[in-house]
């Protein structure tokens, strides 16, 4: 932007950055580097015994730990995908000419005002196999009760649904901002050319909302990869290990006193997020640039 200008008049000496860099170094860079070392040891607060890659080997060979990696990926991708798709249609609906627009917009945003723990606890009561509201409704309608959080095959899905319910609002808000910033002229021109509403949506709204969409994808995916609180509140990773994700597994290993193993888990999580997030961001940005 103002590169030329900045080069001529150097407003601030370079060492102004030092305080920030020091803090960043001490609290971010140093721990990251040491965590690479400690992830290769069996350590407690007195001593650390070097054990090579044993912790990593254990993490991937042991079912309860490696399944967490799979659950994390399922969780992150499905919540992200559902949010991107559902939020788009809600946002389109909320940008159309409807009378109760303002009220619905606030209603959609409401779940985001409640804390994650509260949402988790509330839904775990709603999903209670015998006393929960959902099952009361189901049995009232003549269906068999469903054990949402106790059934191994359903538990992760139930949490994903809750996460989508809670996380949708932010995505909707971002989409609405994106849709509203689209120039109305495009739609008018398309209408004159005889485009249907479906075609407008497909060929005008969707491409032009891409920057907002990319933001949502990145935010929800990274959020999903490191999610912990909702899962902890609803199932604590159970039943058994059916809903354990990276973050909950790392927390548990640390609580058990397996510090080395838990550090290794953190390193794996760091790498996993980096490996997914950086290329994704790159691809999405190129998509954005291609359109605009």
């Amino acid at each position: 932007m103002q590169k030329g200008k900045r080069r001529k008049i150097s407003l601030y000496p370079i060492w102004f950055v030092l305080p920030a860099l020091t803090i960043f170094g001490i609290f971010f860079l140093y721990p990251i580097v040491t965590s690479f070392y400690y992830s290769m040891t069996v350590w407690n607060f007195d001593s650390a015994i070097f054990c090579g890659l044993e912790n990593y080997r254990m993490f991937f060979s042991e079912n309860e730990l490696s399944s967490a990696v799979v659950h994390t990926l399922i969780y992150a991708f499905s919540t992200s995908m559902l949010k991107v798709i559902i939020a788009f249609f809600i946002a389109v609906f909320l940008c159309s000419r409807i009378r109760t627009k303002d009220f619905i917009r606030s209603a959609v945003f409401f779940p985001n005002l409640v804390s994650m723990m509260a949402v988790g606890l509330t839904f775990s009561y709603l999903m209670h196999p015998t006393k929960g509201l959902f099952n009361a409704v189901l049995t009232g309608l003549g269906f068999a009760p469903v054990d949402f959080l106790g059934d191994v095959r359903l538990a992760l899905g139930s949490i994903i649904a809750t996460d989508v319910w809670k996380g949708l609002s932010v995505s909707v808000v971002i989409y609405i901002a994106g849709i509203q910033s689209i120039d109305r002229n495009y739609y008018e021109a398309a209408e004159i050319d005889g485009a249907s509403r479906g075609q407008c949506l497909r060929h005008i709204t969707l491409p032009l909302v891409a920057p907002s969409q990319n933001t949502i994808i990145i935010l929800s995916l990274i959020g999903g990869l490191r999610s912990f609180d909702l899962i902890w509140a609803m199932t604590s990773g159970g039943p058994g290990f059916a809903t354990d994700v990276m973050a909950s597994v790392i927390y548990k290993q640390y609580a058990y006193g397996f510090y080395g193993l838990s550090t290794a888990g953190n390193v794996i999580m760091l790498l996993l997020i980096s490996v997914i997030a950086f290329p994704l961001q790159h691809i999405l940005r190129r998509r954005e640039e291609a359109i605009v």
């Binding site: 079912n63 309860e64 209670h128 054990d147 059934d151 290990f241 548990k252 006193g257």
Partner: protein
């Protein structure tokens, strides 16, 4: 970290307040300045009038003993006993609180290493005690008179190289089946002595429209009781298992009797309550105390609580040991109580020994149990529980002790316990994994603990 700093600041503030408040008051307990330590000396029975008149009767007048223990040990029963000890023996007590858990373990290890142990420490028996290397730090109690009546099972979990170092807390607890007696009477069932009979009973109960087994996965630790409480059956079939397991040569998945323990979860899967996956420990207490379910695999520590909350159920709940395959070899898995250990270098050894003798005297154990309740028979031979204790403990559980059919839980026989045990037992209970898979998974889990303890298991 924040908590730790806050702890340090608070304990420093407390220490400062104490110094300012007490002035020159003599305190025999050294101020070690450890976090979480209760700096408030708790002296009881400071009745100077009676003290001066009864001096002749009180052999340890003027002696102050320092005690270290957790809030569980220092319950109302304990308070009642030390008050009486001050009256009778003249010993005064100064207590320091063990914050518990790993933090407590680290404190006592540090105090052992720095030679700063209190006169008496209340601490776990079994593997945690072994980790302290008791012969280096504690007084050998093997030949003391008051230890002669203590049962051998308890002695084995406070011993090192054949010498005994700990004097027990009053009551043990068992991992067993708590059952609703009215259902048994109604259907004419008998207490099962084999697992087959137990499953048959469950089927009859189910056919009669009852909930045969209460499962409380909402508090995952509760699901462990069937597995851990089956240890009697495992060890009686494979007496060498614990030792070989510690050495890494025996595995659960490769030991038939051990896989049998895990398979028991699958055998009873049809009999659970409808809300098994979400019910909590408290739901279980309510269900059992009201006869909504017939069986519950639980530690007997729940009984005093259950009866206190629902006095009507006192005569209706009973307990029996988790059945094995041989009716003649049916016994109970027992969790031994914690113990008192005397500092080997204490200046008040005589007073400490006198207190322990006093502690294990029948009337004082009665006082303790009448005040606090009992979760199982005492590990003192020939001691019968007072009438205030419910029949489930006083009769049902006692019979296994009288017949000598008890074996300590596995955690008293080996230092290794899998950290994810409760998740694996939950998964097995809900049918997520089979018994064999659970056994294999538990082996892997134990390997992590072994590695952390520096044992070579490869």
């Amino acid at each position: 970290m924040k908590k730790r700093i806050a702890g340090l600041v608070l304990s420093a503030a407390m220490a400062a307040g104490l110094l300012a408040g007490c002035g020159g008051a003599a305190s025999s307990g050294g101020m070690s300045g450890e976090e979480g330590k209760d700096a408030e000396p708790e002296t009881t029975g400071e009745n100077t009038e009676s003290a001066s008149s009864d001096t002749a009767k009180k052999p340890y007048e003027g002696v102050t003993i320092t005690l270290w223990g957790g809030t569980t040990e220092f319950n109302e029963g304990f308070q009642a006993v030390i008050e009486r000890a001050t009256e009778e023996l003249g010993i005064k007590f100064e207590t320091e609180i063990n914050p518990g858990g790993t933090e407590g373990d680290n404190i006592i290890k540090t105090r052992c290493a720095s030679g700063d142990l209190p006169d008496l420490s209340a601490y776990n028996s079994g593997s945690l005690l072994t980790a302290l290397n008791p012969k280096e730090h504690f007084l050998d109690l093997t030949d003391e008179g008051f230890m002669q009546n203590v049962d051998d099972t308890f002695k084995s979990v406070v011993s090192q190289d054949g010498r005994v170092y700990g004097a027990p807390f009053p009551t043990t607890q068992g991992g067993c089946v708590i059952y609703w007696k009215p259902d048994y009477e109604e259907l004419g069932l008998t207490v099962p002595t084999t697992w087959e009979d137990f499953v048959a009973n469950c089927r009859k109960l189910k056919d009669a429209g009852k909930t045969p087994v209460e499962l409380t996965c909402g508090d995952t630790w509760t699901t462990q009781v069937l597995f851990l409480g089956d240890n009697y059956n495992l060890i009686s079939a494979e007496p060498e298992f614990a030792q070989n397991f510690t050495e890494g040569t025996a595995k659960f998945a490769e030991t038939e009797a051990a896989v049998r323990s895990w398979n028991k979860y699958a055998d009873i899967r049809d009999f659970y309550n409808a809300d098994a996956s979400a019910a909590t420990y408290n739901d279980g207490i309510t269900a059992m105390a009201n006869g909504e379910a017939t069986h519950w695999f639980m530690l007997t520590q729940v009984i005093p609580m259950m009866v206190a909350e629902n006095p009507d159920c006192a005569d209706k709940v009973g307990v029996f040991a988790i059945p094995g395959d041989d009716p003649d070899r049916c016994g109970l898995t027992v969790w031994e109580p914690g113990a008192w250990y005397v500092n080997r270098d204490s200046e008040n050894k005589e007073a400490c020994l006198a207190f322990l003798e006093f502690w294990l005297r029948k009337d004082n154990m009665d006082l303790y149990i009448n005040t606090f309740g009992a979760s199982g028979p005492s590990c003192v031979k020939g001691y019968t529980l007072p009438e205030t204790v419910v029949p489930a403990i006083r009769v049902d559980m006692q019979q296994y002790f009288d017949a000598g059919k008890t074996i300590p839980a596995l955690e008293f026989l080996t230092t290794i316990k899998g950290a994810s045990c409760e998740q694996i037992t939950t998964a097995a209970a809900l049918g997520q994994i089979s018994g064999a898979e659970a056994a294999k998974q538990y082996d892997d889990d134990c390997k992590k603990s072994a590695m952390q303890q520096g044992l070579n298991w490869n």
